[in-house]
């Protein structure tokens, strides 16, 4: 479902003397439907960079990233937009929404953009918010005023509201209490059971051990490691 081949990435900082910083070389990764792969490695090793390249908001220098057959590195913006609508979901650590939009709508939005009727989309959103223990009295309010943990759960609800065949999870259990952590782990297990291919970053080792089938250490994808292997 997710196939990465010989991927490299560098940043050119034009306003800081034009320095080019290579951050990744020779990355390979293959994730099958129903499989969950954890990215590991020290902070700064490139876990988030790799996730963002799969999502398409970081450009690759070379190599390919196929998600459901579409090569993100060569796709037109509208193809990536369509992929994000039907195929690829992303639970980031930060909730970015239009202020004032009620939580229920924020969560239902991915379904609305797929053309799901409003009542059905909101019913599904309500189901997830209830599962994640967001009190119903908050559903009509914008999540911008919520606590960090509540925002995190709204983000998770939004990421799981549609059955994406591929999912990216950035620290999905961070800042959650034991009860909600358990709900999220079950959501991940359910997604795997229906055949979703998942790539995640989990600092929560117990969570990683429970839901992930494999670990891939991105330290092996640093340019220095790639030179060593060559």
């Amino acid at each position: 479902m997710i196939e990465i081949e010989n991927l490299s990435k560098s940043f050119t900082l034009h306003n800081q003397g034009g320095a080019t910083i290579p951050v990744m070389a020779g990355a390979h990764l293959s994730v099958a439907p129903g499989e969950c792969v954890a990215l590991t490695g020290a902070s700064g090793a490139g876990k988030s960079t790799l996730m963002r390249m799969i999502w398409g908001n970081y450009l690759a220098a070379s190599g390919s990233i196929r998600v459901g057959g579409l090569d993100i590195t060569r796709a037109a913006p509208r193809e990536i937009i369509a992929l994000r609508r039907d195929t690829l979901g992303y639970v980031s650590q930060f909730l970015r929404v239009v202020p004032r939009v009620p939580t229920l709508r924020v969560v239902a939005e991915p379904l609305l953009s797929l053309g799901t009727p409003e009542a059905q989309a909101e019913a599904r959103a309500a189901e997830l918010l209830a599962q994640l223990n967001i009190p119903e009295r908050l559903w009509s309010l914008s999540p911008t005023t919520f606590s960090g943990g509540e925002q995190q759960r709204v983000n998770i609800a939004r990421g799981f509201v549609h059955g994406y065949p591929a999912l990216l999870l950035d620290e999905p259990t961070a800042s959650l209490d034991a009860t909600n952590r358990e709900v999220v782990l079950r959501l991940i297990e359910d997604a795997k059971a229906r055949g979703a291919a998942i790539v995640g970053i989990f600092h929560d080792e117990a969570a990683r051990a429970r839901v992930c089938d494999r670990e891939v250490d991105v330290t092996g994808f640093t340019p220095a490691a790639a030179r060593g292997a060559a």
Partner: protein, 256 residues
Amino acid sequence: MRDFKDTALLQVEGLTKRYGARIGCADVSFDLWPGEVLGIVGESGSGKSTLLSCLAGHLTPDHGRVLYQGRDTLAMNEPERRVLGRTDWAFVHQNPRDGLRMGVSAGGNVGERLMAVGARNYGAIREAATDWLARVEIDAGRIDDRPRQFSGGMQQRLQIARNLVTGPKLVFMDEPTGGLDVSVQARLLDLLRGLVRDMGLSVILVTHDLAVARLLADRLMVMQGGHVIEHGLTDQVLDDPQAPYTQLLVSSVLQV
């Protein structure tokens, strides 16, 4: 819902406008697809408003082509272009006063556009106007008030109702949230997002506000000195900008 067809709604090829020796916009080319929101960002004087005016037919470019559904809009005669401007196209100005008739009631402002495309039944026109005022969250009780009695945010919402009542396919927007308070901006952004999704609108949005661009646009074009210097998926341009100018622009903003 946004549907994808295999033909671009608007095809722009090599559009150039000069003011004497000075460049307004130079050699701009892009395709816009049905249901897509294209943001054009850049500083004042970067050419984004000139480009928008050329696209909408308010300015005549020196070179280039603008094809709408395959028809060359620059080769159209004036009546043809006027029909297009009243039916398929709409233009939302930064200043509502440029897009509204300030001496005509709110209902009249909305109804007038319907009459321009042939609506004649008074009851039906008033009903459509009432419906649209509700959609842009203006109380039905204000239908006979004149726009000058409205707040800036309400005027802007009225301008949007007036523009969208005829069900256009393509909307040009010039800084639609400029000059409004932040809380009013948020309300307008929410409204615009809903309308774009529900009506399947294609939008060309000029803004200097990168936060607005991030929330509304699918794609971004960055302009500097009349040239498009970067073009791509909105979050890619903002999170991993490639051109020196875009890097400077993004890094100069307090968190977007």
